[in-house]
Amino acid sequence: MTGDHWYDDAAGPVVRPYTMTRGRTRGPGEDRLDLIALVVAEDFLTDHPDDVHAAADRTLSPEHLDIAGLVRHAPQSVAELATGLDLPVGVVRVLVGDLIDGGYVRVSRPVPPAELPDEGILREVIEGLRAL
């Protein structure tokens, strides 16, 4: 694995993407935030569908509100939030952590990462793929 062709354009420049998170790299509950952990709106958000901004406390940044706005419509994985808002994953983790603390969202992670889902689910995945 040492050939030059192995090196691709996947590596970006060295950056410091944590300005938005005020330098924080670890958010509360970060250990639960898998890339495919689903971020789900809490009642507080769904009960204020039209004006999260007014309802939310003023410490929330525009990026917090963007995340809140997205998950109000449907649960979103951490990875989807990152691509949808064009934010690095680490930043999303920190911001989602804030929203969890504030009671705006929770995280749903039904299958423990160390386990395979049961056979029934795997069969449903196969059926679903075939039906695409």
């Binding site: 694995m1 050939g3 062709h5 192995w6 090196y7 691709d8 354009d9 996947a10 590596a11 970006g12 420049p13 060295v14 950056v15 410091r16 993407p17 944590y18 790299t25 898998d34 890339l35 495919i36 689903l38 789900v40 709106a41 809490e42 009642d43 769904t46 009960d47 109000r72 419509h73 449907a74 649960p75 994985s77 990875a79 989807e80 990152a82 691509t83 934010l87 690095p88 994953v89 680490g90 929770r106 749903s108 039904p110 299958v111 990462p113 160390a114 386990e115 395979l116 889902p117 056979e119 689910i121 795997l122 069969r123 449903e124 995945v125 196969i126 679903g128 793929l129 075939r130 695409l132």
Partner: protein, 201 residues
């Protein structure tokens, strides 16, 4: 769990089950093409602290306590049902990002290792990685135009694959072909094709 007021939780009534598959293989083997053939594809930016082990050799500054580098991965979502979503992650090809694979591999249903018969050696590392961690994978040979058609057995021998590992010929540009590859991975996982023992690094 939130108690009470559940009647008002309209749009969140169904929280889908999220599963993931990994797509690995050397540079230029067709990972991005494969993910794009079956799902809406977006680049996912993740950023990693550069540890000594992962710091590029040409980086001699070494003064910043906290330096991160962004790594882009292919990321696709396949909605199988309202309550079942499959995410695809194209693993970053560079050696120095192996440590990133560990997070991706956590809880993965299985993996596709894409191979090009003209440079089979490019997928050795990925095969090795999934074998050692007991993660079910299918070896998919991307049949580039002009590439010699290696019979399945020749590929299997060259890679010294376990007899149970599926080897399939595919065209990463074709949705139907990619579907078959993914089905093969999940069938392999279902057949207990890999022992799900804790990762031994």
């Amino acid at each position: 769990m939130v108690f009470g007021r559940t009647d008002r939780r309209k749009q969140n009534a169904v929280t889908p089950l999220a599963l993931k598959l990994l797509v690995a293989g050397g540079f230029g083997v067709g990972k991005t093409t494969l993910v794009g053939a079956i799902s809406e594809i977006k680049p996912l930016r993740t950023e990693e602290l550069l540890t000594e082990a992962s710091r590029p050799v040409d980086d001699t500054s070494g003064v910043e306590a906290k330096r991160t580098t962004t790594v882009a991965m292919d990321f696709g979502r396949i909605t199988l049902r309202d309550d079942l979503v499959l995410y695809l992650f194209g693993t970053p090809g560079q050696n120095r990002f192996w440590f990133l694979w560990d997070e991706l591999a956590q809880g993965a249903l299985g993996a596709v290792v894409l191979a090009d018969t003209r440079r089979l050696e490019d997928c050795f590392a990925a095969v090795d990685y999934f074998e050692r961690r007991g993660i079910a994978f299918t070896l998919a040979v991307n049949c580039f135009d002009g590439a010699e058609r290696h019979p399945e057995e020749a590929v299997r021998d060259a890679l010294d694959l376990d007899p149970g590992v599926p080897v399939v010929m595919c065209d990463a540009r074709e949705r139907e072909s990619v579907k078959e590859v993914l089905v093969s991975v999940v069938e392999h996982a279902l057949a207990g094709g890999a022992s799900r023992s804790p990762a031994t690094v």
